[in-house]
Symmetry: C2
Subunit: 326 residues, 2 copies
């Protein structure tokens, strides 16, 4: 273990209590100056450590950054986040970084995390707003399922269920999925999922699952034009939420649903999707490039296609579009 | 027009005849030294230009390199190769370069060409041998069809038909398509197609169609381990063939079939595919990761899936694998 990590583990063991520099220096067989230097580094990483010339050091709060070691500490997955977490203070976009890593051979389970994004992307090249101050979760997972390309687009629906379940297990909020790839609270966007699939003719090469989630973003941080449409856990509950805990739970739920997905249990996933989406039976309007379709949602099929019945009883299959509830 | 291109057009106009340096200098309003410098550049680009202090210059042969201007000169496409041809003496792989360009927003119709590849790729990360001396065609096209991801894998079949048709229109050889993505002559591989598809959940982002084609490669240039399995137009006909003419015809055929593809005329494409593939009705053995399937090919369906009937009459649908004729 690196000296800094060892020091952190000692401080965590005695969390909330003072540990003298001398005892740390003896335990770890390094100079007191070295201890002091590593404490400074830990502070830079966001750990709240009190220091006193007489009493030594006291860890009063873990870092609020999405540090790989913190995420891994109580992570119960087998693959996702267990091995390769690539952590950045700032990236253009986590999907872009993950694409480079995947092209270079990065394995399934690799996670890319950024505290902020300068060019966060939504569906179809749209912009995705990312807080600059580490209030959100911006992460991309790399998947390499051995499957034909045909079923791959279902990954987006599966991820929406996993993220919604993660949120429901941690906060008491009315989390809903908006077809096809958004997570809403009371009609406002809390999270978005961007799936990018790269295949050859007959086999998936890799899939990137990007997640943007507004956690502790205060209302005034959102640009004016989306302030009415966006929300965060902080806005909804009035309290800060641990991003580390949330991303950990997202990874755990993701892996659980991904296992189901690979074992061809997609019908139970889509069943849960329908429960969480609350769209079936509703009258909606869907904007599909240049056209507006209105009608009642009859069903979502197993490929995630929206089945719409208009007022003359005609059935339409909508593969993609922007939904508004009527 | 750049001075060099203008000079080339004058020389081409008088192809096979001497043009004095003085008349060129007068026509183009540049010094005779400038003329001489640009002639040297054209020679470096592979043009055979004779020079004589008394008679001037004579263009005796166009460049045998795949220069964008030469390809465009008599190219009858509307989109592919008409605008952006990115030409390189050497690349790791044209698909890799095209991927970077596509990520950066390169438009449909963009073509990437390399005289040689240091890391040419085949299906599923397999190596693809590329001659080092510009005897082959290594090219990747960027496509941005507005379509759902579901039909995209058909692009490989469509490309195989287009390349086979291009070859058949130029050389008298028994060109056959081998399922799913090779072009063979008498059982030996002449060309390979590597399609890489990048999609979001509900829409294709871009498709890369990579082509590796052995044109003037002599037998001894192939590595020993593939010498019996590979061939080139030169090996089959004993004559050098113009790569520029061939790539031009490939682009034209590609665009023609791509238009048909976009107009949902896939059934006529698959019909032609079956004629060219000569696999239906044959007894084959297909290696699918870890397993060998044997039987008679009953059909290829519209998704390019091989329908195999074994000796007990059982039907199997093979999405991907390596075919051997029995």
């Amino acid at each position: 273990m690196a000296t800094k990590d060892l020091l952190l583990s000692y401080l965590k063991e005695k969390r909330g209590a003072w540990v003298s520099g001398e005892s740390l220096s003896n335990e770890m067989s390094v100079s007191r100056t070295a201890i002091w230097k590593h404490v400074r580094k830990l502070k830079e990483e966001g750990y709240l450590i009190k220091s006193s010339p007489k009493k030594g050091y006291l860890l009063s709060r873990d870092s609020d950054l999405l540090l790989p070691n913190e995420i891994r500490e109580r992570l119960s997955t087998r693959v996702f986040g267990k091995m390769d977490i690539h952590y950045f203070k700032e990236l253009d976009s986590t999907n872009m970084k993950a694409k480079n890593l995947a092209e270079g051979g990065a394995r399934e389970g690799t996670v890319v995390i950024a505290e902020s994004q300068t060019a966060g992307r939504g569906r179809r090249g749209r912009e995705w707003f990312s807080s600059s101050s580490g209030n959100g979760i911006y992460a991309t997972l790399i998947l390499r399922p051995a499957m034909s390309p045909i079923g791959a687009p279902r990954i987006t629906l599966m991820t929406a269920v996993a993220v919604a379940e993660a949120l429901l297990s941690l906060v008491e909020l009315d989390v809903k999925i908006k077809w096809p790839n958004d997570i809403l609270i009371k009609g406002r966007k809390l999270a978005g999922i961007l799936t990018e699939i790269t295949t050859e003719m007959d086999a998936v090469n890799y899939i990137l699952v990007g997640l943007g989630l507004n956690v502790n973003t205060p209302s005034e941080s959102f640009p004016k034009e989306i302030r009415e449409k966006a929300t965060s856990i902080f806005i909804e509950t009035g309290a800060q939420f641990s991003r580390t805990r949330l991303i950990r739970t997202c990874l755990e739920q993701f892996e659980k649903y991904y296992e189901m997905f690979k074992e061809n249990e997609f019908s139970s996933i889509i069943h849960r999707w329908k429960q969480l989406s609350d769209i079936v039976g509703k009258n909606i309007s869907v904007g599909v490039i240049g056209q507006e379709h209105m009608g009642e949602v009859v069903d979502i099929d197993d490929d995630g296609v929206l089945i719409l019945k208009d007022d003359q009883g005609r059935i339409q299959r909508i593969i993609s579009g922007d939904v508004t509830l009527c």
